[in-house]
């Protein structure tokens, strides 16, 4: 009887040693532990063993079963692992193959610049507003101190629609007039008005009959030319870098007095002279000035109480300078190969 168990044990060890895969392991399970398995049958024979040997026999059978089970579990786990690894290996792919492009759309290059300007001004409390592109002469010219026959009208060759009364706006200043009228001379005004404007120009690399102007207006109390300078120091440092310097030069506009040109030190050559600044070290960006008292009056603001500054610049020009574009038509033709590049941020972690 004992001999028998020893033999079985030897056979079992031998069997386990020779198992090659999960299938063979399961066959062993059947051989030893199924209903008619060898160990199960030994278990049944317990009743035939003499009483004094029963205990020892039982212990031996249990030992045998435990031995099998332990090995079985270990080997099963190992075989399964091996099989999974094989499967995974067979599933391996060539990660160097091209991706599936899920593309986010890009802004128009000009719009990218405009949005940047808008966010700078909004952070300083300016609202962004627009108005009609088909505009009345009254708002486009007259209420800006440019009566009919004023020489300043020559510089803005305008598309008239109906006689001399209706036109395609030649500047976005009428939006400022409309904003002032809406506020009825009672509330302060702080707006920028980016928008489409039109002038009778032949389109070429530097001229466009349609262009985007960004104008702004601040009307409040005790506003000075130094406030204008300070504001543009903030704006242009944001746009062109912290080392940019702002310079004011006298100029003339009918709707501002004093009028200035706002120059920045050349961001490219740092003021040493280069192509971009035509060796002057400075680039003129913006026309501006203190709002003419007559303009305030016409829009029902009392110049003895209110004062303000206004400014305007061409978005195209600034975008061309900033991004190194030399043909204004780039903005309006939209070659997607060019514009898609502009769908990215310019985060510089220099802090």
């Amino acid at each position: 009887m004992f001999m028998n168990i020893d033999n079985i044990k030897r056979e079992l060890i031998n069997d386990l040693d020779n198992v090659k895969d999960l299938k063979e392991l399961n066959e062993l399970h059947i051989k030893y532990l199924s209903k008619k398995g060898i160990i199960t049958e030994l278990n049944c024979k317990i009743k035939d063993v003499p009483n004094e040997e029963k205990k020892e026999f039982g212990q031996n059978v249990n030992e045998l079963r435990n031995m099998f089970n332990n090995s079985y579990e270990k080997m099963k786990k190992s075989f399964e692992e091996e099989e999974l690894n094989k499967k995974l290996q067979s599933e391996a792919i060539d990660i160097s193959l091209p991706s599936t492009k899920v593309k986010i759309g890009s802004p128009n290059i000009l719009e990218k610049l405009i949005e940047e300007v808008e966010s700078i001004f909004m952070s300083m409390g300016y609202d962004v507003v627009d108005g009609p592109e088909v505009e009345e002469d009254k708002y486009n010219f007259e209420m800006l101190n440019i009566p009919k026959g004023h020489p300043a009208r020559d510089a803005q060759d305008t598309f008239y629609i109906e006689g001399e009364e209706l036109l395609l706006r030649s500047q976005t200043s009428p939006v400022q007039v409309r904003t002032m009228l809406r506020n009825k001379g009672e509330k302060p005004v702080r707006v920028i008005c980016p928008g489409k404007t039109y002038r009778r120009d032949d389109d070429d690399a530097t001229h466009s009959h349609q262009f985007m102007q960004i104008e702004g207006l601040l009307v409040d109390k005790d506003i000075s030319l130094s406030d204008l300078k300070g504001t543009f120091e903030v704006v242009f440092k944001k746009l062109f870098g912290d080392d940019v310097k702002v310079r004011l030069r006298p100029s003339y506009y009918p709707f501002t007095e004093p009028s200035v040109e706002v120059d920045i030190s050349c961001f490219n050559c740092k003021g040493n002279g280069c192509n971009i600044c035509k060796n002057t070290g400075y680039i003129t960006i913006c026309g501006a000035g203190i709002v003419h008292p007559d303009v305030l009056k016409m829009s029902s603001y009392d110049p003895s109480i209110w004062s303000g500054f206004a400014f305007g610049f061409g978005a195209e020009r600034v975008a061309m300078l900033k991004y190194g574009i030399n043909d204004v038509r780039v903005f309006y033709n939209t070659d997607l190969r060019e514009s898609r590049v502009f769908d990215r941020e310019e985060i510089n972690n220099n802090d």
Partner: protein, 788 residues
Amino acid sequence: MINLEWVKDYIDIDDQDLEELAVKITEVGINIEKVITNKIDNLVVGKVVSCINHPDSDHLHLCQVDIGNDELKQIVCGAPNVREGLKVIVAMEGAVLPGDFVIKASKIRGVESNGMLCALYELGLEERTEEAYNRGIAELGDDAKVGSDPLVYLGLLNTLYELDIHKHRNNDCYYHIGFAYEISAILNRKVKLPDLSYKEVSDDINNHFKLEVKTSKCPYYLAKMVTNVEIGESPEFIKRRLLSVGMRPINNVVDISNYVMLEFGQPLHFFDKDKLKDKILVRDADDEEVITTLDNKERILKSSDIVITDGVNPICVAGVMGGLNTEVDKNTKNILIESAIFDPVSIRYTANRLNLRSEASIRYGKGLSYEYTKYALDRACHLLEKYANATILSGIVSHDKIDKTKKIVEFYPIDVDKMLGIRIDEEDMKYELDKLGFDYKICDGKFIVTIPSRRLDIEPNVNDIAEEIGRLYGYQNIVGTLPKVELKQGDYIGDVKYRKVISKRLRSLGLNEVKTYTLVSPTVSNMFDYETKEKIILPNPMSIDKSVVRTSLIPSLLNVYNYNKARKVDDINIYEISKTYDKNYNEESKIAFLMSGAYVNNSWNGSLKVDFYLIKGIVEELLDYLGFKNRYSFVKSKVSSLHPGISCDILLDRKRIGIMGRVHPKVCKDEVYVCEISLNSLMMKVKPLKYKEASKYPTISKDLAFIVPKDMMSSEVEGIIKKAGGRLLSDIKVFDVYEKLEDNKKSIAYSLTFMDSNRTLTEEEVMNVFNNIIERVITTLNIELRDK
């Protein structure tokens, strides 16, 4: 154009570096675009100390030339007139003559030559004629100082400033005396007016002329008469100066009128007195009145023009161009000099309409100072007496309705300080006003300033004074400050806000923003004209291509599509948001997009291609995003330029807000989908966001399929399913469409989801509803059930 040698007649600037002066002038306000000079470096006056024949030539000379500082240069010269003792112009090594001719040391027939003796034509100061050539090198007077600049000695050194004429207050600084005042304000030096004196004979102009002004557009008209003029050439300095600023010298009389205009900014007109009768009548022209102008062209006038007449016939279009009938010619003896001020606006209109924009009309059109009207008249008499031997009659005929009220500004220094944002000492303000030549007094700390009449550009207000003081004091002294205003966050307002929100969403949905032109051609404007709006047609377009204000953006997007397609871009998904206008000036902002090619691209592993259902998905996504879920629908429609079978209207609250579909193959043969939605229709209030808990109870799904006629729309079936399903039906999904059934039929399979948010449904009650749905669909639409 301002000639600085000319300016020197009125202000002392001999000590100034004219390049540096130009920078200073630009800094304080007058934009000098270019400094043009004929100065040549390394050009000096020399004296020929010895002159012998060249050993190896029959016409060359070998000269030793003293160029100052005890320095002698050996120069070979071929001119016939070179001789010992002659003062000459020496171009030394390094001099660059006109035509980029660089002077170098060289050997001429074996003899060293260290420069060149020059003729005037070689320096660009004279025309290169045979006569000039034969004359040889320039012979300077004995008073020429060896070593000095010969152009200075000859008075030929010219420096010109080219001004930016488009802007700025050039009515007072675009003539030489005005410009001298600007320099005087910068350098604090006095301006000296030119000689205005002349002798008069006792004969009075009033014996010969009567003046009548019958228009309000001529507030000031002065005339003097001169007799016995001798027409001839102008003196050299007048010719040279006119030429330098781009005016062709004609004869002494005509040149003088131009010369005075360039001095005082006041245009003059000279009439041949003998071609006139005894009267000058200034009046508004009659409509259709005809005059032949100096250029021998017939001009048809309008009643808005001002005309000078001899009482009956027009003799001059006032301020614009004289008439041929009273022109000064070579036989002219007696002249009537007109110096007047006309309504600038009227002159500008007339000059523009007749396309006769001249130096004179531009000046009249900018407005003139009455003081200079008289000065100019006197100056002309002075010059005519001096250079045309004219006899000046006494007396003057005049019409004087000009407003001579002095422009006076009163202000406290603090007013200027507040406007500029800097503190300027009262003493500094006084100093700047002195430099400007403005008269002022101070009463109890208040400045009372009188603006000189020459400064037409200055209005009597503090702003104008602050600008004058500020620009001279120097804007570089202004230190940036920030406005002391309320702290707040700015925002996008009105339609701009919608534009930005929608723009951002469309970009995140993979559409690329484009910007196109508002103005299109008539043909393009009629494409995609689904609203049949009347269009604004420009009366003065630049070209027919850009003559109509578009009402739809889609044609412009197709343009961008074609542009990119031609550049081999395949997947073109673009959008634009822009305003449109119809004939009645109604504004409508529109959102348009165009999609073609792959939406999700993988060239080797399968792409998701754009089709109708994709663009529909984008529209739904956008409308859902804006809060319009369940308020929109799509109905089949025929839209011009769209595929008749693949197009629809987009409805919001049952009103059409836009269209979408595939572009008609006749318009574009590629598979291109477009959509246009009115942004204005989306600008309305939507429900605020509110949390809604998802149901905790299980759902039950049931599938079924119907066989329907091919042209029946799934939405019809869905509509009935929804109605019949009632409250328990929570979702309908189409999960299969099979188009290839016989008898022109198709099958659509739906998966219905049932749910109650308060309890678990029983199979039995779901089956009740489900069977009811089937029956209602079959009976209402008269179609068969395929499967369930």
